[in-house]
Symmetry: C2
């Protein structure tokens, strides 16, 4: 009977050594995930063809708007689109043809070459939450984010084994003027971490600053020839490309730096309430955005993005971890692969105000779906709370721990002789147990994913130790990681040059808070 | 930018009527899930063939034990197996051949015919937690389960829209003698609910009592000709079939009642530490168990079961929601389909002591995997806590709410003209919004899965209302459901006959507490 389980628990032996090994903080970064499992595909060929044909109809008959951007309109006109005021109607097939010059995968270099990532193919690169104006933790509650919070998140991301990427605006440092904070954020990613990172997109000149700081960090020639940033370009769904985002895209594409071109969808508000309708619009938008990037510079690296949530029709609030968002994401992954582009979607999405069970259900729904839908770049992979308004410290380490589950799943099922384990089955036989057998001894260390956070202790021990829930365990893990943080080394000349660049830039303009 | 989301929230309109509609408790049972999505398959043809060949080797060369069961040994000998003491070695191909008489799907009838379920094919039937000796809730904490707790769970399962099945031992009513509690448990399922249920497996004579009570409820002839119970027969992995479980199986199979034949695996303890090795052993065990059911009665309905957890090698504790358990389950689903048998696995599994974030991550990992692995019968679909030692009231309604997500996902992506939504995309156009458009108005009620529990309110409202976490929301949902519970009607003659049977049975034997 299943209730008999814990009575059958057995001790693994060598407990003291293992406990010591376990309690040490290990700073180690896993390689980006290389999937050895299939993608999950919800759309059949007929459905894919209908959606693709409809997306072409949207582009040709309805069109998209490029706002306040005469140069973009001129590029489209020259490429053969029909331009009327700010509306761009793209003849069938043209956008897809333009997209064909975008690479199927690209390497984003980190200053530590061991942490460079390959985006595309069967890979999955994990990056932390992006954009929240608030932070939350157990001690301080919910409050506006500051630069100190930002730096703490960069350090936690650096310490996380399962994050491959330092991200971008992990929270908005609201204590720094809007027109200068990108400089401090980039400085933090460049000096507090050695993982790859994202550039600023809030103004074209800030994107240019991002490129120039990378030229200091990596060398001018290296940046000319290589991708060292992946930045987030949102489309204002439905079908609107604003001049700020496009201005940043133009800077990055011209510099051969990567952009995620990403519709931003709350289903039922910015897209139709149906999955097929949403997919049609998403595809049309990405086709137009990626095609435009290739008009700026053929061959510029881009990612097919899809930020998808659904809506609570009672309150109008966006909802996360829902089946409809999952279905859209599975379908969008298929459409991206048919376009031959890397795919960005999913994340630690949740609507909950606290890192509680709701947050965890919603997040786990999205993370699992993200892995199986073939996502290549997962922004927001940890730390997201309250519909993206809050970056939460405890949830950051809770989610980051779960990212280990994705690494384990992606391994698939090896069936070589060692994994077939026929010797072990023979050795143990009916009624025996496997704890001590040779095969277990040889393989147990790598056989199972091991949480660095979750509680597996016997009830009595757990109770004696304070009956701590996940939130409390996560709080102490945040502290432990921060205590153990050590800054990665950086050539002092480069560090000084970066600091001088930032100081000079800041001195060159008055503070702006809008 | 994504942080702009909540600023773009909009009101759906008609709020008062919708709020009223929403706050009423609706007693409604969804039809069992009919998947309109593919299964997720981690094993390729080569891997499947290796595992199947190895399972035959296990049966032929190592064999399985049938303990204290001379009649079973005799059946095996007559069928052509080699029997030595209690060890049964089954020649290659024999077990698979015997399994071929088991039906690929069967109907389990409920006393309310609208709630009968079809187990097998592309269907998924959801049943609650099974077996915990303890219960927990916010008011009373963790304590031994009683019959009152049992009845409360049966009522909550009856009230849940997404549970298709009333389950079996939703918790162990430890205040009732061991040899009599099955009578009270069956009485509760039969009278407090009208959903299908499970029979007793703790002794062959209790299985016989279960059949006799069903004969009163459904009529003798109906039970002879139809399946009215699905019961859980665990295999003592590795490869041991004990006389109590087999005794119950023999009663049910002979009566044409369904059994789940289910290895009980803590990976690394009861099976090898590798996924492929575990799958080999699981397949061998199920082949032997199902074959035996068909020796008892060819055509008896059975389910290929796989209860799978992994192990924390530090403490020896079973762990849940892990990648290794998911990979085993995905693979086991493929093996079950190749055998042509319905498949049971997954559930609201977690190791956490509380219904906190850990519990929810682990549970969501398992529920999602259960849907995609093609599970046909999911026992433990809600309410499981602390490695199955505890049935938790709050977690019961939290998990039950998430089962709605599985229903939504299983719908897949319809691409008929209405779902293509081209009219809506045309109507709204670039820069518009979909909240008021005709397509949204016509479809919003059914477009999105709607939680009955989770919080989507604006932060300020949520804070004013007490800043409740999921646990607190679940507590009040439990109370609300219990307040609204109304017993389904039952023919008073049948109710009286059942009561008389139970009274007579109880009077016929002394209390036993072991």
């Amino acid at each position: 009977m299943e209730e008999a389980m814990t009575r059958r628990r057995a001790r693994g032996g060598g407990g003291a050594a293992r406990r010591a090994e376990r309690s040490a903080v290990v700073i180690e970064t896993a390689k980006y995930i290389e999937r050895n499992i299939p993608n999950f595909e919800v759309l059949n060929e007929e459905a894919l063809e209908i959606i693709e044909a409809n997306a072409e109809t949207v582009l040709a008959e309805i069109g998209v708007n490029f706002v306040n951007n005469p140069a973009a309109l001129e590029r489209w006109r020259a490429a053969g689109a029909e331009v009327e005021d700010e509306r761009v109607r793209i003849p069938r097939g043209l956008a897809r043809k333009l997209c064909s010059t975008a690479p199927g995968q690209f390497t984003q270099h980190a200053r530590n070459p061991a942490k460079s990532v390959v985006v595309g193919g069967r890979n999955l690169v994990l990056a932390p939450v992006y954009g929240p104006p608030f932070v939350r933790d157990a001690q301080g509650g919910r409050r506006y984010a500051t630069m100190a919070d930002f730096e703490k998140f960069v350090k936690l991301a650096y310490m996380s084994k399962w994050l491959h990427h330092s991200g971008g605006t992990v929270c908005e440092p609201t204590d720094i003027p809007v027109n200068k904070r990108h400089l401090d954020m980039l400085m933090a990613h460049m000096t507090l971490s050695d993982k790859p990172f994202m550039g600023s997109v809030t103004a074209p000149e800030r994107a240019q600053d991002s490129v120039e700081m990378c030229e200091i960090l990596f060398g001018k020639e290296f940046v000319r020839d290589n991708t060292v940033m992946t930045s987030l370009i949102n489309i204002n769904s439905p079908m609107t490309f604003d001049d700020i985002m496009m201005g940043a895209l133009e800077v990055y594409a011209a510099s051969n730096q990567a952009c995620i071109i990403s519709p931003f969808i709350v289903g039922g508000a910015m897209a139709p309430v149906s999955v097929a309708g949403t997919l049609t619009q998403v595809l049309a938008e990405v086709l137009a955005g990626v095609a435009y990037s290739q008009l700026v510079r053929p061959g510029a690296p881009v990612i097919f993005g899809a930020f998808v949530s659904s809506i609570d029709m009672n309150s109008g609030a966006p909802t996360f971890g829902t089946p409809e968002a999952s279905l859209v994401t599975y379908g969008a992954g298929q459409l991206a692969r048919r376009l031959g582009l890397p795919f960005r979607s999913a994340g630690s999405f949740c609507g909950s105000k606290l890192p509680d069970a709701q947050a965890a259900y919603e997040t786990a729904n999205s993370l699992n779906m993200g892995l199986l839908s073939g996502v290549n770049f997962m922004l927001h992979a940890c730390g997201w709370l309250e519909g993206g308004l809050v970056a939460d410290f405890e949830k950051f380490v809770m989610d980051a721990d779960q990212l280990g589950v994705l690494h384990g799943l992606a391994k698939g099922v090896p069936v070589d002789a060692e994994h077939q384990a026929m010797g072990a089955i023979r050795e143990v036989g009916p009624g025996g147990h496997y704890l001590g057998c040779a095969h277990t001894q040889a393989n147990f260390k790598s056989a199972f994913w091991k949480s660095e956070l979750l509680d597996y202790k016997p009830f009595e021990t757990w109770e004696e130790e304070g009956a701590r829930d996940t939130y409390a365990l996560a709080s102490s893990r945040v502290d432990k990681l921060m205590d153990a943080y050590q800054q990665p080394t950086l050539d002092p000349d480069i560090a000084a040059a970066l600091a001088a660049y930032v100081a000079e830039k800041k001195a060159s303009m008055p503070d702006a808070f809008m």
